[in-house]
């Protein structure tokens, strides 16, 4: 799906800026499995092939040269070993990492002087790529951080949010659960583009105003009943 004329929203949970042939991913949360193991859980190690399959699919079907990582590259903190492996695999695929915007999970990333770190955001044409966990005065922004999702039968489906001069990316990592977009008033009025069965569909605008009482609950949340039934 194409938005703002220059962006392609892919079903692989990354957006492509066509004029610059740059893919933007957010929230890769590398090392999630490791974090759970360190917490004492017996879960399998990362399956690199599966983890990188969406990036591989994107690069095989689109003309992409560069990659921008919009924050939360790591689950806990910068891990040199994971980074080395990721960089090797990505360059094998033909990606060159042009920018990493640190996210709130990326402890210690800013200290890595040899990496293309952009703590205040990275300018891609007229767009500012940010992670999205802090305030910003930028005009046209691409954000990660929120892991936007729509609720479907109690389960979450990742989606892009497209608003006036703003694009919110879903989390790249399948491990990230996602945040129900209804809960956050700031997404109201934005267009929701959900990824359903390998297709990005325009699912309409995030509706509604805040509800105060029982009397207005149903009126202002027309989708509530349908969600309950579905």
């Amino acid at each position: 799906m194409r938005v703002f004329q220059e962006w392609i929203l892919t079903p692989w949970r990354l957006a492509i800026h066509e004029p610059t042939r740059t893919a933007v991913v957010a929230d890769m949360h590398l090392g999630y499995d490791l974090a759970r193991r360190q917490a004492g859980e017996a879960v399998p190690n990362i399956d690199w092939d599966g983890y990188l399959a969406p990036l591989h699919a994107a690069v095989s079907t689109h003309d992409i040269e560069s990659l921008v990582i919009a924050g939360d590259l790591f689950e806990k903190a910068f891990d040199p070993e994971l980074w080395r492996h990721l960089r090797k695999r990505l360059s094998g695929m033909g990606f060159s990492i042009v920018a990493i915007v640190p996210g709130n999970h990326d402890r210690g990333l800013c200290e890595q002087k040899k990496l293309p770190i952009y703590p205040d955001g990275f300018m891609l044409a007229k767009w500012t790529i940010l992670h999205g966990h802090g305030a910003s005065q930028a005009d046209k922004t691409v954000l990660g951080h929120w892991h936007p999702c729509v609720l479907r039968r109690g389960r979450k489906t990742p989606c892009y949010l497209v608003g006036p001069r703003r694009l919110v990316l879903p989390a790249y990592s399948h491990d990230a659960a996602g945040v129900n977009i209804w809960r956050h008033p700031e997404w109201r009025g934005m267009r929701c583009c959900a990824i359903v069965d390998g297709v990005v569909i325009d699912a309409g605008f995030v509706p509604g105003k805040s509800a105060g009482t029982h009397a207005t609950n149903k009126k202002s949340r027309p989708w509530e009943g349908r969600l309950q039934r579905s």
């Binding site: 917490a39 004492g40 389960r155 979450k156 359903v196 699912a203 805040s210 105060g212 349908r226």
Partner: protein
């Protein structure tokens, strides 16, 4: 393998005097003076316990089971010698426990990070730390509240008995549950009580600690309260394994001694299952059974929507309140069971508004209320300060709640055993009549309540089923055993196989569990972090960090992840800080949808959501009309036996109807005690079913098909419960899709199910027969559920019980994954890496046996070739289908095409 348990039923019940003689004075004297005449259960139990036999006491509520078990134990405790370390032996001089007291040798804290190799030194340490007194009796109850209540009662009895036997002054009673403070736990270890009351979960934790194992080596008695409540679930399997581990510990120190096991159970059938479960494999057990003869009064009243009578209230809730008004007025205390929490909340809210003067005397009790609130309700109920208590199911089992005059069932409970259990909460005194009133909403409920009441009066309880070797619980125990030293493979397998639920455990499954805990795939490759280390054929826990972490995560009770609701208490004038008090919990999915300002009901009060703070939802109490929270529930479906009885009842009623309306009415009135309103409703239902379709007979499968515009709805009438119909519907839907390319959602209910299919050439009865073949049923069911949310959800639970993922991981939860990470991600990873993984197979087994009742569905299908398949094409839904199948919610997880999903999602968002 050792032979199964030998069961003995005692001969004629000894006379009360003879029974008291076995107790001897001063206990007999105390009993005569304070209690009076022993009950039949006590008369049977005391001689048997005196002889040292394992015993199951099965008797109705309030037949003195606790004293039946305890008096002989107390008597023997006081008679023990100093070498036994109990009672009279211990100096009556009060001991002071404090920092100045010299610590017993070997009780100094072990190094925090003990390696497995160092564990070998533990036996030497353990023997040196013999406790000052010896724990002789463990009392295990299924509920914390019950343990607390039992401890209180026991202490009271001991207090009274001390007047008669001063030696009892030194007998101490301890309580160890999940609520016990760290200090209390430490004191229990330093100076064990003679009698310790606990729960299965706390027992498993204690058994994983070497110092506690040492304390347990001197045990003589284990009392298991409410055995019947534990048998059918994983907690029972957990307990059975713990009991065998206790037995082994005792035998290690006293080779000639066996634990005396005493089980206390309410009315249950079959008793031999309960007894075998209690004593394990190869041991003897005596069964003392006191039949339930207390008078029972079960009334069924239908609250139908009045046709064309606008003066009467229309909604069920309004009719319910109208009917409850005289009922509540005539009783001092009424207990109302609603089956689910949201109805309990709603009813409490409405009752409080209807009877404002009773607001303080109307309470609600369910598992999503804060413990403090529940305890308060229980206390007030016991003191007789409450007029009405509305509960979902949480007061079904548990503490003595005093004098309840009447039990009201809003919607029938789905089983006879449950009905009797709930009814036992009224007239909680020997000989008092128990009064139960069923209030039913729909015609299906009316029939169900009628058959339940008749079965209850006839004492036709559903048979107990022992949970079948859950491997996740086994993994927990293997880890627990590994925490106290090196374990040999073969000896461990022998111990486990002595537990009744694991009597048939095969070696391969046992090895699969060990392989998982060692981080290996079935082919020996590494894939997970290991919990165990190996030394030849022996295993032990890999390190002490893992031990202490996993111990915190023991237990098989999995709750939906709740979000705490806390009530904001504003700061008062004198400069106090604003604070908040716990009220209860709501599910995370529900909390997700709440926005500041939303109002909802909890604890029968209206709260307004203000803000999130530290993971809790802060609320204020306000006036106004709230919405009722939603809690996920397994529903309350018919027990399989009751489903069949209900089907048979319909057949019998149909036969009576063929003899005329009068015969039909007489059948309902005389055999089932139905009143005129109910008879009129049923007459209408049966006549309409006969006119539109037919009443399904026992030896036939009735299939009804209704063609709509683009789809056909096919209804199947079976004598099966919902779970068995679920299995049939999944397999049938799967075969229709695979063989004919037809797909559509299914509605699964008790006594039938419905498939909604695209319109096609109607299938003949023979075609349906072919699709309903019993061959390859289990395989097709496995394929049908392989992608289902049911399997994923089960896997998440099993992974938690099997300690693959943890309720309380080190450093707290990883929030990024969310609450469904295991269902979503880990499930896929496990299927990819190790399709034969032991915990995945356990989840599949649970889906086959619990979510779906595959065995029942299969036996129905195996009988199908000798049955008639009758197919009817109808223009409208038959009354039976409308009464049973239609109201069931659509089980949307069955076959949904991507096109459907896309379309529905789009509609959800744009309206």
């Amino acid at each position: 393998m050792a032979s199964d348990a030998t069961l003995t039923f005692p001969g004629p019940c000894p006379s009360p005097e003879r029974a008291l003689l076995t107790l001897g004075d001063p206990y007999a004297a105390w009993f005569r003076e304070t209690i009076g005449v022993p009950t039949a259960a006590q008369c049977q139990a005391w001689p048997s316990l005196h002889r040292g036999e394992n015993l199951l006491v099965a008797a109705p509520t309030a037949s003195g089971k606790t004293l039946a078990a305890f008096l002989p134990i107390i008597k023997k405790l006081t008679g023990m010698t100093k070498a036994d370390g109990v009672a009279g032996a211990e100096s009556s001089k009060p001991r002071t426990l404090g920092l100045t007291e010299p610590r017993p040798l070997g009780s100094s804290p072990l190094p925090r990070f003990l390696t497995g190799a160092a564990l070998t030194a533990l036996p030497g340490l353990r023997t040196a730390s013999a406790p000052a007194t010896r724990l002789a009796c463990l009392y295990i109850t299924p509920l914390k509240a019950l343990s607390r209540d039992a401890a209180k009662n026991l202490r009271r009895h001991l207090q009274e008995l001390r007047r008669f036997d001063p030696r009892l002054r030194t007998i101490r009673v301890g309580l160890r549950t999940g609520d016990s403070s760290a200090k209390a736990r430490r004191l229990h270890l330093e100076r064990p009580p003679h009698i310790l009351l606990t729960t299965p979960e706390s027992l498993a934790i204690m058994l994983s600690q070497s110092r506690w194992c040492d304390v347990f080596r001197n045990l003589r008695w284990v009392v298991v309260d409410e055995v019947h409540a534990l048998i059918g679930n994983k907690r029972g399997a957990d307990l059975a394994l713990s009991l065998e581990r206790l037995e082994t510990l005792v035998a290690e120190r006293h080779p000639s001694r066996a634990l005396q096991r005493i089980g206390l159970s309410g009315t249950c059938v079959p008793l031999d299952i309960a007894a075998r479960f209690l004593v394990g494999v190869g041991r003897r057990c005596t069964i003392a059974h006191q039949a339930d003869r207390a008078p029972m009064e079960l009334i069924v009243e239908h609250l139908p929507a009045e046709r064309g009578d606008s003066a009467r209230p229309a909604g069920f809730m309004a009719r319910l309140i109208e009917r409850l008004t005289p009922e509540l007025a005539r009783n001092r205390t009424t207990l109302i069971f609603t089956n689910i929490r949201s109805i309990a909340e709603r009813l409490t809210w409405v009752l409080r508004r209807r009877f404002p003067s009773w607001t303080e005397q109307i309470a609600v009790h369910h598992s999503s209320l804060a413990v403090e609130r529940r305890r308060r309700v229980e206390r007030r109920l016991k003191k007789g300060k409450l007029r009405v208590v509305v509960t979902s199911t949480s007061l079904e089992l548990g503490i003595d709640i005093g004098s309840v005059d009447s039990v009201v069932f809003v919607h029938p409970p789905g089983g006879v055993a449950r009905t009797i259990q709930r009814l036992g909460r009224s007239g909680h005194k020997p000989g008092q009549p128990r009064r139960g009133l069923f209030l039913t909403a729909g015609i299906a409920e009316l029939l169900e309540a009628t058959v339940t009441a008749a079965s209850g009066s006839a004492g036709q309880l559903e048979p107990l089923k022992v949970v079948d070797e859950p491997h996740d619980v086994l993994c927990q125990h293997l880890v627990g055993m590994a925490m106290t030293g090196w374990r040999s493979r073969s000896e461990t397998l022998n111990i486990i196989r002595r537990a009744f639920p694991y009597r048939k455990l095969n070696e391969a499954d046992f090895e699969h569990c060990l392989a998982y805990l060692s981080g290996k795939k079935s082919n020996g490759a590494d894939w997970l972090p290991s919990r165990l280390q190996w030394r030849g054929n022996e295993f032990a826990i890999i390190n002490q960090w893992t031990a202490s972490l996993l111990r915190r995560n023991f237990g098989s009770i999995i709750n939906e992840e709740p979000r705490a609701i806390r009530l904001l208490i504003p700061a008062s004038d004198n400069n106090t800080e604003p604070r908040s008090l716990p009220v209860g919990t709501v599910e995370e999915a529900y909390a997700d949808r709440l926005r500041p300002g939303d109002r909802f009901v909890l604890d029968g009060r209206c709260f307004q959501f203000r803000r999130h703070e530290d993971g809790a939802l802060l609320v204020e109490e306000v006036a106004g009309s709230p919405i009722v929270p939603h809690w996920t529930t397994g529903g309350w479906h018919l027990a399989p036996e009751l489903a069949r009885r209900l089907f048979v009842f319909r057949c019998q009623a149909a036969e009576a109807l063929r003899d005329g309306l009068q015969a039909f009415a007489d059948f309902l009135r005389l055999e089932y005690g139905l009143e005129d309103a109910g008879i009129a409703e049923l007459t209408r239902l049966f006549l309409m079913q006969e006119t539109i379709s037919e009443i399904p007979a026992l030896d036939c499968l009735l299939i009804e098909s209704i063609d709509n515009d683009a789809r056909q709805e096919v209804y199947f009438h079976t004598p099966l419960s919902r779970a068995a119909n679920d299995a049939m519907a999944r397999v049938l839907a799967w075969r229709l899709y695979r063989e004919r390319g037809l797909e559509g959602p299914a509605v699964v209910a008790d006594l039938g199910f419905m498939l909604s299919l695209p319109t096609c050439q109607p299938l003949t009865p023979d075609a349906w027969r072919g699709l309903l073949a019993a061959e390859r049923f289990a395989d097709d069911l496995s394929e049908a559920v392989s992608e289902s949310p049911s399997l994923r959800d089960r896997f998440a639970r099993v992974a938690m019980t099997g300690l693959m993922v943890l309720r309380q991981p080190w450093g707290g939860r990883r929030k990024v994954g969310g609450r469904d990470w295991v269902q979503r991600r880990l499930f896929e990873q496990v299927r990819h890496h190790e399709p034969d993984f032991v915990l995945l197979r356990q989840a599949e087994r649970e889906v086959h046996r619990e979510v779906c009742d595959a065995p029942a569905a299969l036996s129905f299908l195996e009988a199908l070739p000798s049955m008639e398949v009758r197919f009817r094409s109808l223009s409208e839904v038959s009354p039976f289908a409308a009464a049973w199948t239609q109201p069931a919610q659509i089980s949307a997880e069955l076959a949904e095409t991507p096109g459907n999903v896309l379309e529905r999602l789009h509609h959800q968002l744009v309206g």
